[in-house]
Symmetry: C2
Subunit: 193 residues, 2 copies
Amino acid sequence: MVETIPPRSGTAFTLDRGQTLTVIDPEGKQVADLLAFSRNDLREVISSGRTLDYASRLYLTTGDPLYSNRSNVMLRIVEDTVGRHDFLLTPCSKDTFRIIYGDTDPHRGCFGNLAAAFAPYGVTEDDIPVAFNCFMNVPIDGLTGSFTVEPPLSGPGDHIRFTAEMDLIIGLTACSALQSNGGAFKPIQYRID
Amino acid sequence: MVETIPPRSGTAFTLDRGQTLTVIDPEGKQVADLLAFSRNDLREVISSGRTLDYASRLYLTTGDPLYSNRSNVMLRIVEDTVGRHDFLLTPCSKDTFRIIYGDTDPHRGCFGNLAAAFAPYGVTEDDIPVAFNCFMNVPIDGLTGSFTVEPPLSGPGDHIRFTAEMDLIIGLTACSALQSNGGAFKPIQYRID
């Protein structure tokens, strides 16, 4: 059954070891921030630093494992029709909209949406690390290290699929930042098998 | 007064708002992993994801602020004689040496050294995020996103200086990984003014 996350919102759900999670961009050019915590111990959480170090690559795709802060594999990418995702940047937040966009009455962003969705599971704001940002397109200038946030390369129906290698709590959003999503806020869909 | 951190070890100390911390590479080509926690609330910690997002640049240098997970400035780089540091990778650990180097009896690495040094302050292993890796040279291929860990660009006496913008607990190491340090383990020095 396909679930829909409305534009600029987020959700959290459990994913059992061995299940697969498919994250779908139904309309195209829409980012979905993904976070994972271990159900056995909430202090074990997805880690960009560990994952990138072991991959020696910023752009992850089919076959790549996503590690926790304790160097255990949490998820593995088993299918990817896009091939460009970001694992550098924290979920957009009130502070992002204040500092980068200059908004005076900022949206709570993916960060606020994730914190609200995780609250029933006991995960708090300070526990939220760098997310695996599905479909987020952050090209990097290798010479200067400068990067920009460009529209996703995903078209309607593109998707990325993960298998869970431990029992997890997953947070997932339809990202709230204009820059990341080609200037429009669209839904995200997901399916658990 | 200049303090010396012996090769493959680490330390932790307090740094008051307004003080400056100078991290010195006395012999050249040696990395120093740096972490910062707020003294007022250990749940506020240095954040690569926030910092890189606001800088739109992977390579940070003079003038750049280092943000916390709550989007407050913790430290600001005020002098930098090298211009190449890493803010992508977690401190090297037993798991790093096991997974990347294939060691059967792995060193505890910067991660273990930092955890031990932070223990008296109440910071635990799971609290340790991506470090700001002074002098660590991680060139990136912008096209593929692949990166390598190369010898630091620092020569003897090169240094980076930070001012504290809040009361902090700092962790600092002389990095324990061969790859990061041009194949030899050297000391790191620091000074607080």
